[in-house]
Symmetry: C2
Subunit: 701 residues, 2 copies
């Protein structure tokens, strides 16, 4: 039976008839708390309570089984203990349930047996044409349809909150409330056994009462779907803010024990958020702060921030924190300084930070006038106001009479800010009347400068980027992954290599030496780490040297084969690493970085979901710190980054078409002024990768 997910999700968020299976009269039980909440929506939905022992719950007569209900079920909430789970689900499916919220825990997250039971049940749910949220979840709320299927209440508002942790959701809702924001929908993701993050993002993006989507997730599961759903939501005007946890090694351990989650590397998750245009945050406070800042509906323009302050060290600290966050605080253009000088006094500093230097204390309208000038300035992308503003109306200032003028300035700033450049305000007096005027107009006001800067960093730069390309259909699996085969496979995919011959005998060596031009490189093949074992000899100037090295390596290493290669001229070039890995959640992922030992040691790498085209590959290369080496540099000619980008793109398409390849690597890819050239290649299929990991673990133990 094909399910119409969209209509089923409607049943989830606005059901006609809600049944609570496992409703309880005991206030210490979930079945009581959920029933209590569900009944708050009784004006809009029919609410039935089921308890096998019968009786009354919260003043309402229960039925002892769903069979007794006099009308079909739309949405069923299952709060029974784990041993009664299947019976309860089968029961509501028999009564036509279209949507199920399964709070019951102890299934998929509890081990192999629980997972098998869960899988079997989900198949029956799908066969019945229904959807299930959970199990092991805390429920669901839609504040606009009065659907309250959770033990907690959430202040209504415009944020859809999708969370893999119940406590986290409670905390986020509290933090949003402190910022004047509330919840449109809340869904506890639980085990995501059927409906998961992807479908819920889609459903909330389509919800007219949802202005932004907030996600707490440990296990993204369908990584590609997540990127697709996020990109669609963002494109349609609903920002998505993501707190993906478990990205550190200890965090992954915690996620494993918390929800049995498989997490992905921090870099892969970040790449996915970037690809989908999601704003990524690290903590609940950042999540709430960014959602507050997004209320401005400002137009992201870029990273050049103007700092506006009146005396004191606040402007200085703001500059330091902004630059540390990757934003720019450039000296303002003469035209902008001229516009500022017309509205400020001679002591004011106009370069950036713009320091009123007492003008604000003389007349709070100075703030508003300077702010308006910065809004008009072409060389300013975003504005950060910091310091004392808010103090004159706070009642804590000794100087008298400036409160009303400050409030008037706040009103003017609110008007000038609306819908334009991203703005953040840090105030020593965030609760003062002037600060409240700003906040109520949607201008985000923060007590701490680092919060203001974090919010500005998240909203100043447009998160939308070219959305990720689809993974191609698998190609025929590669037949062999020895060095020469790997090389051939990459070459066929469009990666340029130096000329080489595989040789197995002195006779073949002699032939290869005649075909190839010196100087030569000789590689002993079939060793785990060729270069570590001394199995690679470079710079062999002539045949004599080549033959001698061959003899020496044969005696010392007895390799199964050799590769004789022409030697690339590496002078003036940069060696990159290009790698790909098949991530358990996100599929093919691509890595580029500075090659050789530098890669491991310095971590100058960029990661993206693959495949990528050459222009995206070039953007990745340009984001490397090492990108400074690509350009003309102290008289050295510029390198052919476009050639490197084409090779990177070719690698990414190859990797994406070969799911049987667990890891692959070209290291180094030499980038020279004239082009790019692969000097080595390595492919590891799934079986080998698992084996290598096991070996590594063995060695550690």
């Amino acid at each position: 039976m094909t399910r119409d997910l969209s209509s089923l999700l409607d049943a989830l968020f606005d059901p006609g008839h809600i049944v609570v299976v496992g409703a309880s009269a005991d206030p210490a039980k979930w079945g009581n708390a959920v029933a209590l909440q569900a009944l708050r929506g009784a004006d809009r939905h029919a609410i039935s309570l089921v308890n096998r022992r019968g009786g009354e719950v919260l003043g309402q007569q229960v039925v002892t089984s769903v069979g007794e209900l006099d009308r079909p079920v739309d949405l069923a909430v299952i709060t029974v203990p784990e041993f009664g789970f299947e019976e309860a689900v089968d029961g509501v499916l028999a009564r036509g349930a279209r949507a199920i919220v399964a709070i019951t825990a102890g299934l998929g997250e509890s081990g192999e047996e629980g997972r098998a039971r869960q899988d079997a049940l989900i198949q029956r749910v799908r066969d019945a044409g229904a959807v299930l949220v959970g199990p092991n979840c805390l429920g669901l709320v839609d504040n606009h349809t009065a659907t309250y299927i959770s033990s907690n209440t959430f202040r209504p508002g415009g944020v859809a909150l999708l969370s893999q942790s119940g406590n986290l959701a409670i905390e986020v809702a509290r933090l949003l409330g402190e910022r004047g924001l509330g919840i449109s929908r809340f869904v506890s993701l639980g085990n995501q056994a059927d409906v998961g993050l992807v479908e819920l993002i889609e459903a909330c993006a389509a919800d007219e009462h949802t202005e932004a989507i907030a996600v707490y997730v440990e296990d993204v599961r369908d990584g590609r779907g997540f990127v697709r759903a996020t990109a669609a939501a963002v494109e349609a005007g609903t920002p998505v803010v993501v707190l993906a946890a478990g990205v550190s090694s200890a965090g992954a351990r915690g996620a494993q024990s918390h929800t049995g989650s498989l997490t992905s590397d921090a870099a892969v998750v970040a790449a996915a958020c970037r690809a989908g245009g999601a704003i990524q945050v690290r903590t609940p406070r950042e999540l709430a702060d960014v959602l507050m800042a997004l209320r401005q509906r400002a137009q992201p323009r870029g990273s050049r921030v103007a700092v506006l302050t009146d005396g004191g060290g606040h402007g200085v600290i703001a500059c330091d924190v902004l630059e540390a966050a990757g934003l720019e605080v450039p000296a303002l253009e003469p035209a902008t300084q001229a516009a500022l000088s017309e509205v400020l006094w001679s002591q004011s500093s106009l370069t950036n930070p713009v320091d009123l230097a007492g003008a604000g204390e003389m007349d709070p309208q100075s703030y508003a006038k300077a702010f308006a000038a910065l809004q008009r300035a072409d060389d300013v992308d975003a504005i950060l106001m910091t310091g004392y503003f808010g103090g004159y109306s706070s009642g804590e200032d000794g100087l008298t009479g400036l409160g009303p003028a400050e409030c008037a300035a706040a009103k003017q700033i609110s008007v000038d800010a609306a819908g334009r450049k991203p703005v953040a305000v840090q105030s020593m007096f965030p609760e003062s009347p002037a600060s409240r005027i700003l906040a109520e107009a949607g201008v985000p006001v923060f007590a701490a400068i680092e919060d203001a800067v974090a919010a500005l960093a998240a909203t100043a730069v447009d998160p939308r980027s070219a959305s990720v390309l689809a993974v191609p259909a698998p190609a025929a699996p590669i037949a062999a992954v020895d060095y020469t085969s790997s090389r051939a496979a990459f070459a066929a995919a469009g990666v340029p290599f130096v000329a080489a011959r595989e040789v197995h005998s002195a006779a073949e060596l002699h032939e290869a030496a005649r075909e190839l031009r010196p100087p030569y490189v000789l590689k002993a093949l079939g060793l785990l780490h060729k270069s570590d074992a001394g199995g690679v000899v470079v710079g062999l100037p002539d045949r004599e040297a080549l033959y001698l090295s061959y003899a020496q390596l044969s005696e010392r290493l007895a390799p199964a084969a050799f590769s004789v290669e022409e030697m690339a001229d590496v002078r003036g070039g940069v060696e990159l690493i290009v790698g790909a890995r098949w991530d358990v959640r996100f599929g093919p992922t691509l890595l580029v970085g500075l090659g050789g030992t530098s890669t491991e040691v310095l971590g100058d790498v960029q990661v993206a979901l693959g495949p990528v085209d050459a222009s995206e590959a070039e953007r990745m290369l340009r984001r490397l710190k090492a990108a400074a080496l690509f350009d003309e540099h102290r008289g050295r000619p510029a390198l052919s980054v476009s050639s490197a980008a084409r090779a990177v793109a070719a690698v990414s398409w190859f990797a994406a078409a070969h799911p049987e390849v667990a890891e692959l690597e070209i290291n180094p890819l030499l980038v020279a002024p004239s082009g790019a050239l692969a000097l080595d290649a390595r492919i590891v299929t799934g079986f080998e990768a698992r084996f290598a990991r096991t070996s590594a673990t063995d060695q550690e133990n």
Copy 2:
């Protein structure tokens, strides 16, 4: 006249007779606010008010000049306009003033002329055997001697606050108040024309009512004195927390306009804080949070943190944030897990994060028992509790009756925490009764996980390190800084070089070729960037190749001289850069990093104040990311880091003895298994460095 600073500083903080010069009846003027505050201390000090127009101020008769006072002045506060400044200061000096707080602005920070006036006056103050705070400051407070020489009041407590910004001080005091902390002494640094940060740190470290010293500074001025004073304070048990602003380029611009400050590089300031054992923070909130965490008086032990939580994603997020902050969350040892398993239930996860998994909801004492076990564990340096704890007593939890048990657990945790491992608590309910029990016992409770982690990062690791070595007396200035002279100077200082000969003719070349062993390196000398102009040829295998290169370089570059050198075997080695610079505030500073192009591009450098001994140099080298390359690595032998460290130390002593050298550099210093060898050298004296900077600026414009 030699001043007894210690006794003078006593006069500053507990004067017998305070005179406010410029006391005003106008409530909009500083002279009014300061007089109002000063009079609050009239029980302890005699307070006289001076106003040239006479009359009454705040109900007290003023005198029109200090000459009319019937007793000598101990402390004078100068709040007169800038044009009357000298007259006022001279007047109080004539009346025997031992200490002066100069609030008047418009002197040293306003340009050349103001600076000259300020300098002349400070000389007279010093000649009179007095001290002066300011000018351009906001005053001074000692809450324990009722010395209130500032327009603001500060809640009493144990923090001495030394600030170069008035608004920042007000903000910090507010933030401290929110955390239950207060101020012992407040001093506004102003222009630091006489008494500066160094003397005030010393004075506050000696103050029995000061438990910790908080510093906001843009211009450290006496950098070495700062390190010395800080190290002494920390050693004597008074922690010093420093917010040094203006370390970014825009921040330095802001500081310049704010206080006319000259700031130093972020890396140099960080090195100074490390050398002095000061805890460095970036923002006012961090400053307040760290001061709150320091109240524990915990014993810093190391970076291994145990995370304790009960369900939810809080443990997972905490792990991610801790690792991002450089702390470790290692899996716990079997013995520790066994101890935990005795007090928790079977569902609990014991590896780290320690997740009670519902045990806390069953019995809040589970938190206290697990906490006690972690306090006893040898493999845990610090403890972070995060998540729901605090909720059961908050009144917001639906589950009944757990509040008292939670409060009992909080009391137990407070007892177990006292004076032992650093602890931080993040609670969703930071204001709840249980959270307040922790906070009142000195256990820092935070609403946001990133704040808890930042405080833990600042308090978990012992900030004390070997204090910085004294700068030696200047050696005879170096005579020449050409390549060969620079090389000789370094070699004399103990830096090993490859063998080389400077040659000026084919005849000398021939001689050098006979003395040195091939392969050769040939360098054309006298060019700005030898290698950029193609003026360096390496790997010349024999005399024939050497002579040909000599002929070619002569024709192409016509250099004044050449250096012929033996070629070091760089295979298996790592190339470092060792540099030194004379910082305007901190004197000789030392930099080590990965050499070659990697230095600029990857920024893997460590900075310290020079000179350093070999053991400190080795610590710097080991802190590099590239340190992984020093050890035995994929079959490659370990490198002689100790040789490199000796060379680095030699460079640092040379730099410290040569203040006339603005910049010097050895790049690369080759570190091989057998030792370290300098392959190039560069010295720039002050004049040349200024010239190079001017040229660079010209090019930019």
